[in-house]
């Protein structure tokens, strides 16, 4: 940019400040000379610096200031002076001096020390201590000490600019409590660069218009006018808008994957009886998952109702001896009261059980999915939450098989950003074969466990559906993939609702 163009970019504030910089480099002076506020001058200087016109310099210096006592003594006089004044005309006892001067006891004691040291007073013991002034004292009273002179200075005072006697006085004052303090003073000033000196030499009084107005457009007065050039590289204040929560954004994407694959959504209550959460899924009543330390049970209402007797009977018999499923069952006596216990759902697989129970043979084939909140009895910490989201899916079809199950899973995780997946044997009470999915972390170069799946056991399917046909099912969590994507390391951030974090979080771009 040549110097003329540069001159045209100048903002009115810059125009005001620039010509004064050479003569009045300090910020303080520039504020005085321009009549602008300090913020305005600073902005102008900042802009000019961005354009390479000047350099802002900051000088740090040690300065001395009066502290509370110092300010008080400046008005009332130093205690030792007030002491001398009190005894100037007559000999007094300590109590009388205290009364006359209004000094505090510790102030008076330090005066005694100082004045005795300077031989300014005489002490006589006559029952009580009596104090009188000496000739030396009288001289001192008349003369203004270095310390007193120092207190009258303009503060803050630059320490490096002090004269010798001032330094001496400062040393003495520092020994006393609360008289002076030192501070680091930052003084800003600007100095023109070579470019700046050239520019300042130019005629920068510009005829450029600062902004285009509707009036100009109406009257056509814009014709022939120049508009001030902007420095378009300049930073602008940040704004932020309305926003979906980043977790919900990710959830919507997960839902979209299943919709695209032709799945139908299922939803259901967050609190369910243990019948649906466990029994219908062939989870034995003494299974550890039903323990208090894993599941949140409800205090009141503690129990709910069991569904249709036909289903309950089929489930009971299946648990007890396998019913007609071809299984041996768990070989115990099933208790309907355990099945009535209400619990916050620990997985969304019970939605699949509910869906199976509602299906009629003519509805097949069916594919269902859900994404929903689940609960687990955990203490909150950086990697554990008591609420989390689970993705659920089932495919109910005569011809569905294990390879198909793996196919869906592979597709899902690939769409979630993990094209490389591996499958390992696993155990879940309600699937057989069961499979655990690991995905390969593209950055950390290691396998990451993301969730479980399998083919529902006949002991699950037949009591609910009336016959045993293969049902491929999966229920991985995806909190870890969400954290991954957003670069979150503390899982609690998913529910922290820090507005700044939500405002600044990047958008889910899948």
């Amino acid at each position: 940019m040549d110097i003329k163009q540069l001159a045209q970019t100048l903002h009115p504030l810059e125009r005001k400040v620039l010509p004064l910089v050479e003569k009045h480099p300090s910020l303080e002076e520039l504020v005085k000379q321009t009549g602008l506020s300090e913020v305005e001058v600073m902005r102008a200087l900042q802009w000019l610096q961005n354009k390479g016109v000047l350099e802002i310099k900051e000088k740090r210096s040690e300065a001395v200031l009066l502290d509370t006592n110092g300010k008080q003594y400046l008005e009332e006089g130093l205690p030792e002076k007030r002491f001398l004044k009190a005894v100037d005309k007559s000999t007094l006892t300590i109590d009388e001096i205290l009364k006359k001067t209004g000094l505090a006891k510790d102030e008076l004691n330090s005066c005694l020390g100082i004045l005795k040291g300077k031989a300014a007073i005489d002490l006589k013991k006559d029952g009580k201590l009596r104090i009188s002034i000496t000739d030396n004292g009288k001289k001192l009273l008349k003369k203004e000490s270095f310390e007193e002179q120092f207190l009258k200075k303009d503060f803050p005072a630059d320490i490096s600019a002090l004269k010798d006697e001032e330094r001496f006085a400062l040393e003495n004052l520092r020994k006393r409590k609360g008289l002076v303090k030192t501070e680091t003073i930052k003084e800003k000033s600007a100095s023109l660069t070579e470019l700046g000196r050239k520019l300042a030499g130019q005629d920068i009084g510009s005829d450029a218009e600062d902004s285009l107005t509707s009036g100009m457009l109406k009257t056509g007065s814009w014709k022939g006018k120049n508009f001030r050039r902007y420095d378009i590289s300049i930073n602008v204040p940040r704004i932020s808008g309305g926003k979906r929560h980043f977790v919900k954004d990710a959830i919507d994407y997960v839902r979209k994957i299943w919709l695209e694959l032709g799945f139908e959504e299922m939803t259901g209550p967050l609190v369910q009886t243990s019948f649906w959460t466990f029994d219908a899924l062939f989870t034995a009543q003494d299974h550890p998952a039903r323990d208090l330390q894993d599941t949140f049970f409800i205090k009141n209402p503690a129990k709910g109702k069991l569904p249709d007797k036909k289903i309950v009977d089929a489930v009971r018999k299946t648990h007890e001896d396998g019913w007609t499923t071809g299984s041996k069952g768990w070989q115990y006596s099933w208790d309907p009261e355990d099945a009535r216990l209400n619990a916050a759902r620990t997985h969304t697989t019970m939605l699949s059980a509910l869906a199976l129970a509602k299906l009629k043979p003519e509805d097949l084939p069916k594919k269902y999915f859900s994404v929903g909140r689940c609960f687990r009895n955990e203490t909150l910490d950086y990697c554990h939450l008591f609420e989390f989201n689970q993705v659920e899916g089932i495919v109910v079809d005569e011809n569905i098989n294990f390879r198909n199950l793996l196919g869906y899973l592979k597709q899902f995780f690939s769409k979630l950003g993990y094209p490389k997946a591996r499958f390992r044997p696993a155990y879940f009470p309600y699937t057989e074969p069961s499979v655990e999915i690991d995905v390969f972390h593209p950055v950390h170069k290691e396998w990451m466990e993301l969730g479980g799946a399998g083919i529902f056991r006949p002991e699950v399917v037949k009591p609910l559906l009336g016959r045993d046909i293969p049902v491929a099912a999966w229920g991985p969590g995806f909190g870890r993939s969400i954290m991954e994507y957003y670069g979150i390391t503390d899982i609690r951030d998913l529910y922290r609702n820090d507005l700044r974090q939500i405002r600044d979080m990047k958008i889910w771009m899948r």
Partner: protein, 547 residues
């Protein structure tokens, strides 16, 4: 799930083959155990609860050796008659069953004693469900004089020195003073008599399933022959537990002997290690897996998993607890085939995807609010009474958890505005104005549902700034309802959480759907908020039904 640690050298010796480390790691994972890690000479694995037989180093090595093709097929175990018996005199109704075995010629050392105790403990925790389904005891045979009697006795008459305890205790004292006694006290606490094992000399051997006698029920590195018992309410569990222990000991070099268990006129002989038979149809297996395996392939694969197979019949080893349906055999087929060898395939099941209409509605509502510059939240359903009621100057009937870990999250929320205020209280350091909303579930007691709880989806919107007021919040409500092509009315109402005269009830199609207003200063100071807040809470379920 239980984690067990094995000695790698011993393991490799038992397996009969040494694999390179990475191959070893891979094969362990692909057998169906979660490998925690291999460090130095220690292999740590998590055993899935369906395979208690792999909790012992011998059982694990047996399965592994077969899986990698070294020693495949059904493992045979010799059982000889011991010539002695166990007499069952009296049993408790809650603790009726007993099974026993003798194993001789063991060469224990400290390491093996530790292993046996680990196995016994892990079986007690997993297969026996923390001893609720049964307990296991092992005794040095030379300290016991057979025949052994299983009976019951009044707790005060039971006196012996429990394992690792300095002195004798009575039955009751064991439950209150011995650490193991205290841990399992619940199982026997209500009983008038406790089960005991007594030998022919009248010496009390143990008080199952709680603790053995220190004098006659402690195995050491000098022990060569052992007597093993398992007692409890669930016979199948006991049989499997016993089989797992004796087969592990046999793999250690011991010889198994059976005993007759005589109860009046009934007689049962344990252990019985003869395999059970299960039918497996070729078609069923292939359909489930999506493979086209032939008879001989199935045979080979099943043998890799420790079974034997002949013409549709599978012999299942007596230590397998989990094979209760042919689908369990199908899984083992899949494992033997190798999960990594399956070709994934998305089938052509033609169905049409569809969302729940309410989900669409909810997303539209979020979209409208985001368009107004509001930020969506993601809040918990769990909260506490203080946030929901006392801070809100309100009193409501809440759905509470029976086993919450912390008071802070002990109830399910009954309304949403407290969730909004909590977020505002957590964000006082952040930039104002704050305009936020969340959609979530609320819980109320109700007799009309299966659980006795009614769940509703609610929307809560809150704005807070120096000049957040009724107008500002009503504008948002007004815009939202207009965009949904609905009409609403607001009637003045009293609500303890809002400033009197600045709170209204919103109706749509005569249905009460929302409260709207300015939050009262009492409520704000209870939340330690220093900015005015106005908000509304809208029943989305009802509004949806009105659309």
């Amino acid at each position: 799930m239980p984690t067990v640690t094995f000695n790698k050298d011993v393991f490799e010796k038992l397996v009969g083959k040494k694999l390179p480390l990475n191959q070893l790691k891979d094969r362990i994972s692909m057998l169906g155990t979660d490998l925690e890690g291999i460090e130095g000479n220690e292999i740590t694995v998590e055993i899935f609860p369906d395979r208690p037989d792999m909790l012992s180093e011998q059982g694990f090595a047996r399965a592994f050796s077969s899986f990698i093709g070294v020693n495949t097929g059904l493992a045979g175990f010799d059982v000889k008659k011991s010539g002695t018996h166990v007499k069952v005199e009296k049993t408790l109704k809650i603790w009726p069953h007993v099974v026993t075995a003798i194993v001789k010629g063991l060469k224990f050392d400290d390491e093996k004693v530790r292993e046996m105790i680990q196995l016994q403990e892990k079986l007690g925790v997993t297969l026996c469900r923390d001893r609720k389904k049964g307990g296991i005891g092992i005794y040095p045979l030379d300290k016991v004089s057979p025949p052994v009697i299983f009976t019951t006795e009044k707790p005060e008459k039971i006196r012996f020195r429990p394992l690792e305890f300095p002195r004798e205790l009575t039955g009751r004292q064991i439950l209150s003073q011995h650490p193991t006694g205290r841990k399992y006290a619940d199982i026997m606490a209500d009983q008038d008599e406790f089960p005991i094992f007594v030998d022919s000399k009248g010496i009390i051997m143990s008080m199952p399933p709680i603790i053995n006698s220190h004098d006659v029920g402690k195995i050491t590195s000098d022990t060569r022959d052992v007597f093993i018992e398992a007692t409890g309410p669930h016979l199948n569990t006991l049989l499997v537990a016993l089989n797992i222990i004796v087969t592990s000991m046999a793999d250690m070099g011991g010889k198994i002997f059976s005993l007759d268990i005589i109860r009046g006129k009934e007689k049962m002989t344990t252990p019985d290690l003869s395999p059970s038979t299960m039918k497996l149809s070729l078609e069923y297996a292939n359909n489930r897996l999506g493979l086209e395996l032939k008879q001989n392939e199935i045979k080979k694969l099943l043998e890799k998993m420790g079974y034997s197979y002949s013409k549709g019949e599978v012999l299942v080893p007596a230590y397998r607890a989990d094979v209760i349906h042919p689908c369990d055999l199908v899984e083992d087929l899949a494992i033997a085939y190798g999960y990594e060898n399956f070709k994934e395939e998305i089938p052509s099941v033609s169905t049409i995807g569809s969302e729940e209409p309410f989900t669409v509605f909810r997303r539209k509502v979020s979209g409208i609010l985001v368009g107004l510059g509001l930020i969506e939240l993601n809040t918990y359903h769990l909260t506490d009474r203080e946030s929901q009621c006392s801070r809100m100057q309100a009193d409501m009937d809440m759905v509470e958890l029976s086993n919450a870990l912390t008071a802070e999250y002990s109830s399910l929320r009954t309304w949403m505005i407290p969730s909004i205020l909590k977020v505002m209280a957590d964000n006082k350091h952040n930039e104002y104005p704050q305009k936020i909303f969340d959609i979530g579930t609320i819980f109320k007691k109700s007799i009309g549902t299966e659980t006795g709880i009614e769940e509703n989806e609610r929307l809560a919107v809150g704005i807070t700034s120096e000049n957040a007021d009724f107008t500002g919040i009503k504008q948002i409500l007004d815009y939202l309802i207009r965009m949904l092509d609905l009409e609403y009315e607001i009637q003045p109402v009293e609500h303890p959480s809002f400033i009197p005269g600045r709170v209204g009830r919103v109706t749509v199609n005569k249905k009460k759907v929302a409260y709207i207003g300015e939050i009262s200063p009492q409520v704000l100071s209870a939340w330690d908020l220093q900015m005015p807040v106005s908000c509304f809470e809208l029943n989305l379920t009802d509004l949806f039904n009105a659309v």
